[in-house]
């Protein structure tokens, strides 16, 4: 099976609420890099949460890395989640621990030997260009650096799949492009990468397949950059 992620008529509905995702079907091949786009509330985050088994599909079937997620027992979820690297808009770092401890956490959870952990953490920090900052607390770093710590934590276990939810949402354009280039590098190394993002300019700078969501459905529309959005509105008025 070459599909790393396979959505088959998947719907998700909040308990007692509306459908956030309705009848979504798509597949992502191993080694692919995809953007998930769409307006706020279109279901981008929910899509990523479903893949990471942070919530469960109300209907349909979802296969991730050969695992049928509806058959996953709740005590198997942590082990499954360890196989995915996740990056968040708000970084989700532990601010009372050093950069090293943050990045080491996924390895500590799995119980590796300290020597191995040390080597792996330094390698991961090296690949995001933060090798000298091991002993620093995350709050003393800039937003871009904090996000790179988050990325180092996501890749330190060498996962086959990286999920990133608005990873550049809190970064200035230069840092954002830097971070995106980082994801591209991991993708070149064979890692499947899914990025939910609003950053049209970054997508244009690093073009890849786009999965565009609107009102919980996949559509053929493409995201519009803010600069052009103004023209569209102006045209409408005129």
């Amino acid at each position: 099976m070459t599909d790393l992620i396979h959505f088959d008529h998947v719907s998700y509905r909040y308990p007692g609420g509306n459908d956030v995702l309705a009848d979504v079907s798509f597949a992502v091949a191993q080694g692919e890099m995809c953007y998930i786009t769409g307006p706020s509330g279109a279901g981008k985050t929910t899509l990523l949460r479903l893949i990471a088994s942070l919530c469960r599909a109300s209907r349909g079937q979802l296969l991730v890395m050969g695992q049928n997620l509806s058959a996953l027992k709740s005590r198997q979820v942590p082990a499954f989640r360890q196989r995915i690297g996740m990056v968040f808009q708000n970084f989700n770092l532990l601010y009372d621990r050093t950069v090293f401890d943050n990045v080491a956490l996924p390895l500590v959870i799995r119980g590796y030997a300290y020597d191995d952990i040390g080597r792996r953490v330094r390698a991961a920090l090296d690949s995001v260009g933060l090798l000298g900052k091991e002993k620093v607390l995350p709050l003393t770093l800039s937003g871009g650096e904090q996000q790179r710590v988050g990325i180092a934590r996501a890749i330190v276990t060498k996962p086959a799949l990286i999920l990133a939810d608005e990873p550049t949402g809190n970064l200035d354009p230069e840092m954002a492009l830097d971070v995106m280039r980082g994801f591209k590098r991991f993708n070149d190394a064979g890692v499947t990468v899914l990025i939910a993002t609003h950053a049209i300019d970054l997508i244009e700078a690093l073009p890849h397949r786009i999965i565009h969501l609107e009102h919980g459905h996949i559509t053929d529309k493409r995201p519009t950059a803010a600069s052009r959005l103004k023209e569209v509105v102006a045209d409408g008025v005129r």
Binding site: F80, L105, I109, Y112, A113, K158
Partner: protein, 316 residues
């Protein structure tokens, strides 16, 4: 499940388990060391809660030891008729000594009784005023230990039937009463221990609950990156362990200080009763079990709270 885990050996489960527990042990200790006052106060409250039943236990134990030491010397006295000669008395003492249920007999002649009384009572001069020796010869009979009360009473009855015996006397009613009271006290100590044990669990549970609330985000992050429940739970269980351990040690110290403060006055009281009894504190084994129960309660209190709370914290 193909899974990229290149280049890393996962140690065997026992090495992993031991390393992880050592890590969390030191981590939780470090956390306590960073806020020693708060942790110390929690441990002190637990210590007091544990020291109360432990102190009562020591009290009851001491009282029953006193009672028991008197039971050791439980004797029945056969007062012989004045007409019985010293030879006959001695022979009778030997006869009774051979009987079933009797450990030992001791014949005390009238003269010995008088000498002893003179020496011990302080009424020596008063005795000199008397023409005759007013004291009877006595055979002190020590019953074999571990006899039922009925057997001892039957023995008294049988011996009082002897023609040479004027009066057979066994005074153990007060002992029965003491034991009945101690049985109630022991039961009361159990109840107090149970309630305060629950209190310890609640105290630790509450401390852990506050800690969990303070570290809610951290728990969410850990769950996000795939930490299993046991991994998230472990530091809190170790906090409970440390609080229980600290509380147990403090409780032992409190009981020790308490008994040493009571030592001098109780020795004085014992001396007034002609005893050299000294109040006993917790034995080493009892102290260790006090600490162990602190640890068990701390761990259990933490476990209940953490299991309940962590289920409620899911990553958003």
């Amino acid at each position: 499940m193909a899974f990229v885990e290149a280049g890393l050996d996962r140690p065997r489960w026992f090495a992993r388990w031991a390393k992880e527990h050592l890590r969390v042990l030191l981590f939780s200790l470090g956390k306590i060391a960073r806020a020693p006052l708060a942790a110390g106060l929690t441990a002190l409250v637990i210590g007091i809660a544990l020291a109360l039943p432990a102190g009562l236990f020591v009290g009851v134990r001491n009282l029953s030891t006193i009672g028991y030491s008197w039971q050791e010397s439980l004797q029945l006295s056969l007062f012989l008729k004045d007409s019985v000669s010293a030879e006959r008395g001695l022979a009778l003492a030997r006869e009774i000594g051979a009987e079933k249920g009797v450990a030992r007999t001791n014949y005390i002649s009238r003269e010995q009784s008088l000498a002893e009384f003179r020496q011990l009572s302080g009424f020596g001069e008063a005795l000199d005023l008397l023409q005759d020796n007013p004291l009877p010869a006595v055979i002190a009979v020590t019953p074999e230990r571990q006899q039922t009360q009925a057997a001892v009473e039957a023995l008294v009855e049988r011996l009082s039937q002897q023609p040479e015996v004027e009066l057979a006397k066994l005074d153990q009613q007060w002992l029965e009463r003491l034991y009945a009271i101690l049985a109630i006290a022991e039961r009361a100590v159990s109840i107090v221990a149970l309630l305060l044990g629950l209190a310890v669990m609640v105290i630790i549970g509450n401390t852990i609950r506050l800690d969990i609330e303070a570290r809610r985000e951290e728990i969410e992050v850990m769950k996000l990156i795939g930490a299993p429940g046991s991994f998230v739970r472990r530091p809190f269980l170790y906090s409970g362990f440390w609080f229980g351990l600290g509380g147990g040690v403090l409780a032992w110290m409190l009981v020790g200080v308490g008994t040493s403060m009571l030592d001098a006055p109780s020795a004085e009281l014992a001396a007034l009763y002609g005893s050299d009894y000294r109040i006993a504190s917790l034995s080493f084994v009892d102290g260790l079990s006090l600490i162990a129960s602190g640890i068990v309660l701390g761990w259990a209190g933490a476990f209940v709270t953490v299991t309940r709370r962590l289920a409620q914290i899911e990553p958003k």
